[in-house]
Structures are given as structure tokens and as C-alpha cells.
Symmetry: C2
Subunit: 229 residues, 2 copies
């Protein structure tokens, strides 16, 4: 069974055909060797997905579209790591796992600087397509603690075990992660909970991926994929 | 509070002092600027940890040592990704999270080759020290399906949701992940269960990290860190 390419195409879609940009066409035709009539799936990155076929330089919408409801709206707040490759990794993995927004967090022990915003947007879009998602992750910041949406959980090695708190979590959540040397206790907001994600001391990029995976793990009865592969 | 360096020093330790190798001494004294009498923690990578102090070219064992019982013995079987950086990432993150052994899996749609074994060992040792663990991850393979220890769970997008099966899992487990194009259904052993780790289609390195994090998440009542940070 051939893999069906999944495309992020900004909406709104007003016509039965959606024009595709030149690099997308090039990728579909030259790299993936797709032809007119071959199936593609697509999303607006805002919850809607559909299936269609390739035709000339556009895709033809052939079926009903679906609006996917998020399981949980997760904000991931991350102190940028010093190594640029680790920052990119965080963007890609968070977007792949379905994080709603990634916010670079300004902390007292900050080490790195956030990556270029347009590059981060590009990594986020690529990860959405690759993971066949319906919701694009936004990347913003750096911001201070006061701009993080509550409720807020801060990942620390000596926080409450995830298992002990997970059942009390609601449909919206912010998890803060990093920096490499740990948060300064004094800087944490009074309302912040503290959570432990592992028996080990995790690097910032590992804590980010683990926190996102745990918070976005589908509940038993609501586990349909965003888009069939 | 200064960070206490955590050292992997192969046992058995027969004397009150443990000699340290030259690169370790160099790192402690030149990079971390530690002096005689400064505290260090150490592990044999086989479950035992202790605390001591730096003295000349050795560490002095100053307290009782502790043998840590594993929460779960996890074997992670991974089809090597084509990109070497992703293979290294898998080794480092699996070791950091406390995977017992990483086994490169030979699959029909295999893309990459396993990294050099001595490099993988080095990454595993580094991740153990950095994450302050007590158990070193072994890396081996490539092997076929028949050499994986049961019970075996294969990560696939259309498997049973993790939440539905996690309560039935025992103290030893193998999770198989990858390759990029998916497993060939025909190659999966009859006894293998299939599990879904996300609502998204995950890359091999992401599935490896998520699978390890979920399987090694401490239960509510058994969540003490392997070594205090």
C-alpha cells in the first residue's frame, strides 16, 4: 500500500480545488513520483482534514472534511537549551506529538536563545505533515512566567510523580521544562504545581518530549488517530 | 547548591578508595574545577550507588552504598533509522530514561545500520552519568525477531491504545519500534501484541522515546529517584 502524502494547506478553502505551491508540487511529482489522480490527504492545521486527489498543480477535494476535536490543549513552556540542535529537536518532537503551542520561557538560569521564528514555523509545519496531524503547533516567545496560561505544572526531579496527579488534570494545561541547571525556586509562580516525569534527571529536550507524550496520551475511549496513515 | 558529579565506575569495588581514570580526573578538576574533599556520587551501572569525596586521583567511599531495584526491565528493540544522528539520539535518550537494553532489530524494511558498538557504549555511559542513574543500558544487535525476550509489544499507529493495556503489563517487557515505513505485518511474531503510543504517526526515534517513557513511568508508590541530584 503506497503511503498517502499528507499536506498542510492554509485555509479557508473556498473552491473544489485547492492550488498547491510550487515546492509542494515539486516534492509530490519529482520526489514522491505522484501523478494526476493519486490520493492525498490535507489539513488546514486548525483541526480540519480531508482527502482528495492530485490534479495538475492543485488537489481536488473528493470527500467530506472532518473537524477533529483536541484531546487536550497543551502549552509547552521551555527554557531554550544552549545547543541549537536540541532546540530544533524540541520544536520538531513537540509538533509531532500534537502540542498546541510551544512557548520559549525566559528563566533566571537561561542558557540558550530561541531559534529563528520562521525556521521554527517551518519545522512545526514539516512535523505536522509527517505525523499526519490536524493541528499545527504555534511557536512564540521568549516570555516570562506571568504570560503562561494556567494551570501550570513545572517539571522538576523532586516534584509529585506524574501518576499521582494525572487524573486531576483538565482539558487545558501548561508544562514548563528546563533550563539545564534547573529552575531557581524563587522564580516559580505561587500557583505552579511541581511534577516529576522520571526516576532519572532528564535533559531539557527529553523532559519536553516526555511531558508532551504523557499529557497528550489518548484516554482509553478517545484514541482515534487524527488522520489515517 | 553546587551540582554533585555522578560517575560510572565499573565494579567490583574492593577498597575504600576507587581509582579514577585520567580523562575522568581531567574532567572533574579542569572542567568542573573540583578539589580534594569535594563530594561525588558514583554507580557501578549494575544497580549500586554511593557517595564519596574526591581525593587525589581517586574517590573515597564515605557512606553506605545502596542497591536500587528496577521498576521494570525494559528491552527496547529498534529498527535503525537511516540518519546516524537519529540513531545516536535513540541511544542517548533510551539510556537516559533507564531502558535496560537497546537491541537493534533486523526488519524487512530496514533503512539504516546500527551505530558503531563502542560509540554506542560511550553514549550509554555518558547518558547514565548525566541522568544520575544506577543501571547502565546495554546495546546489542542487530538481531531478528526470534531473539527478542517476551512479552513483546510492537508499536504501530493502529495498535491498542497504551492506556488500555498498561495495567496488564508485568515487570519485564520488550517494545519494538520502527522502521520508518512501518513493519511488514507478515514478519511480526504470532505472540506479539500491538500498541499505539499517540494519535499521531510518530517517527522511529520519537516512538522509541515515548515508548520508553511510558513503560518506565514510576508507579505512584515507587517513585524515588535512583540518585538524588
Amino acid at each position: 500500500m503506497a503511503h498517502v502524502p499528507h499536506l498542510l494547506v492554509d485555509g479557508p478553502w473556498d473552491w473544489p480545488q485547492i492550488a498547491l505551491e510550487e515546492p509542494v508540487i515539486h516534492h509530490l511529482r519529482r520526489v514522491l513520483r505522484r501523478r494526476d489522480g493519486d490520493p492525498v490527504s490535507y489539513t488546514d492545521g486548525r483541526g480540519m482534514t480531508g482527502t482528495g486527489t492530485l490534479s495538475d498543480a492543485s488537489l481536488v477535494r473528493t470527500g467530506d472534511e472532518v473537524v477533529h476535536v483536541r484531546g487536550r490543549t497543551l502549552t509547552l513552556a521551555v527554557a531554550p537549551p544552549a545547543a541549537a540542535a536540541r532546540a530544533r529537536f524540541i520544536v520538531e518532537k513537540a509538533a509531532e506529538l500534537g502540542v498546541a503551542q510551544l512557548v520559549w520561557l525566559h528563566t533566571r538560569h537561561a542558557q540558550g536563545r530561541p531559534p529563528n521564528p520562521s525556521k521554527a514555523e517551518q519545522w512545526s509545519r514539516g512535523a505536522l505533515e509527517q505525523s499526519r496531524g490536524a493541528w499545527k503547533m504555534d511557536v512564540s516567545g521568549p516570555v516570562g512566567w506571568d504570560l503562561l496560561p494556567p494551570p501550570l505544572l513545572v517539571a522538576t526531579p523532586d516534584g509529585e510523580p506524574w501518576r499521582r496527579i494525572e487524573s486531576g488534570l483538565g482539558p487545558a494545561l501548561t508544562i514548563a521544562v528546563g533550563p539545564e541547571g534547573g529552575f531557581d525556586r524563587q522564580e516559580l509562580p505561587d500557583h505552579a504545581g511541581q511534577v516529576s516525569l522520571s526516576t532519572r534527571v532528564l535533559r531539557v529536550e527529553t523532559a519536553a518530549v516526555v511531558g508532551a507524550a504523557l499529557a497528550l496520551l489518548p484516554a482509553d475511549l478517545d484514541s482515534s488517530p487524527e488522520m489515517d496513515s
